[in-house]
Point group: C2
Chain length 340, copies 2
Amino acid sequence: MAKQGTRATTIDDIAKKANVSKATVSKVINGYSGINEKTRQAVLKVMREYNYWPNTTARSLSMQQSYLVGLFMASELNNSFFREVIPGIEKTLGAQGYDILYFADKRPGNTGVSFGYLEKCRDRRVDGAIFLSYIRDELAEFEPILASDIPTVFVDMTLEGPLTSYVISDNYKSAKLAVEYLHSLGHRKIGYADGGTKSVPAEKRYQGLMDTVRDLGMECRPEWIFQYSFDEEYGYDVVNKLQQLDEWPTAVVAQDNVAIGMIRALREIGKSVPDDLSIVGFDDIEISSHYNLTTVRQQKYEMGVAASKLLMKIILNHKASKPKLMDTELIIRGSCKPIT
Amino acid sequence: MAKQGTRATTIDDIAKKANVSKATVSKVINGYSGINEKTRQAVLKVMREYNYWPNTTARSLSMQQSYLVGLFMASELNNSFFREVIPGIEKTLGAQGYDILYFADKRPGNTGVSFGYLEKCRDRRVDGAIFLSYIRDELAEFEPILASDIPTVFVDMTLEGPLTSYVISDNYKSAKLAVEYLHSLGHRKIGYADGGTKSVPAEKRYQGLMDTVRDLGMECRPEWIFQYSFDEEYGYDVVNKLQQLDEWPTAVVAQDNVAIGMIRALREIGKSVPDDLSIVGFDDIEISSHYNLTTVRQQKYEMGVAASKLLMKIILNHKASKPKLMDTELIIRGSCKPIT
DNA sequence: TTGTAGGCGTTATCAG
DNA sequence: CTGATAACGCCTACAA
């Protein structure tokens, strides 16, 4: 069905103008060797003249690949953590000629056909997919795509499969760094507020924290442990609950959003960080520096780069690639104070 | 060329299993009327059984439309302003069955063919495109796509064409609100720091500011006017330059990023906002509230919604739609103080 | 109501 | 080295 308006020029047009077959044009487009330099130049000339570019849709139909990578995100595109890993993906994939398909279509299926990740990927013929920010509860939904022939890379989830890999930070170490730092400042009573076991990173941090606290002979009472969510509001909750306690920890380790919520909540009740409480965060998200928060940084941009590279490797080799563990680093700012 | 691994099921498979032609299957997929209810159900049953979903690539090749909207951004996906409008786009477009194609491919052309916005859109067969955050200098590059048959919507640029529209805030009013507010607090000496004439919004704000300052009989000396950039660092520059002046304005109106840079810079030299200087921002980006910045808010999410709706309207009606002017609103926080 | 056949724009196979 | 021709998977006149 033809549409009104100007039609884009096709390979046939070029073939005609250049007096060759479209097979020949196709070959010069794709840089084949077996072709006369003179006709090559002629074809190129016509292409330039008509400003011709092969239609990617047709091409992907024919080649069974699209130079498109699917991006799935549980939360919206504006999540404080992942929005900093996405630029790494953009940059790396873009440099290799890939465009990024953000799956926004959230319609419920109409024909009763279940339309999960696998179907969406097949549907758009993506060459691979990257998943950001999913949680434990949803693991079952990944089975079909994990078992499929579509290359996938997960960020912050330790899923594996024949054509799958993941990138994740060394979250155990993050917690260790945080606790050791507090220990070195003289702190012995440690609190903890994080996302709980819903996410792999939070789970590892918890382990790292508990192990280190134990190894260093510090104290971390059950009532100082808060594991539920990642947002600022939760920081307010934590402070509320803290207020009902007889004794506080002298320092708290918390995910950045939670930490910032705590700082704000404390300010509102006339307490100060670090004078009344020391806090070490996790992640080093954008606003952390604005709160002068000492925190353990994840290399977010680099995680995006790593995820993209892993994916391209899987696409190329048709087999799973070794997961990538990213290093973390303590960023000392002003939210901690020595215990004297 | 066949690929290894499981093949996705096609319309042919379904047709075969259901003992009908693929034309029939196609008709039930697309909800055609002229079709026997019994065979319809039969086909549907097979579709469900095989978990079949039509291949969008093939479909868009055939239908000349893709249910894909292209998203172009001058800056990266993580820009502090536009990252808040994108969720509005996601939500609105997603609800209508569209996915979003983020054009990440930044390769230079290899065949010498110029590959601009128009070519990229044709290439991927997008049904339309949304442009965010482009500046004056680049206007010429839009001519081809403006003249084409591809529907486009611009955010923060007042471009028009046969199949084009835009959404932009009432930036003139924003500046007016800011200045009037300062006037009501007793301020008479006003400074200004913004992005200059590179962007339409900044230009309108400048006009609004100058007009209102004049109308209210206030003072705004040339050396209090800074028009160059939108980032935090520029805020530091502005404070630096201010320090070399004999007399300061009592209040400054500035884009939020710049305003925050100024607040930080002032803190560092021992001055306080609002005690030593009052500041009103523009935009109300995410971190503004963290700085307790009084600012004129743009409805960012709603701008995304509006842009999406405009685009869908143009796609549907095959003609330009009336541009959308968004209202703005003064958010009073704590960065301004009355002059006594 | 259903099926046949041609087209969407490329790539790829295989003769010439 | 070059050119027919058959895929790729779907849609849509047009016939039956």
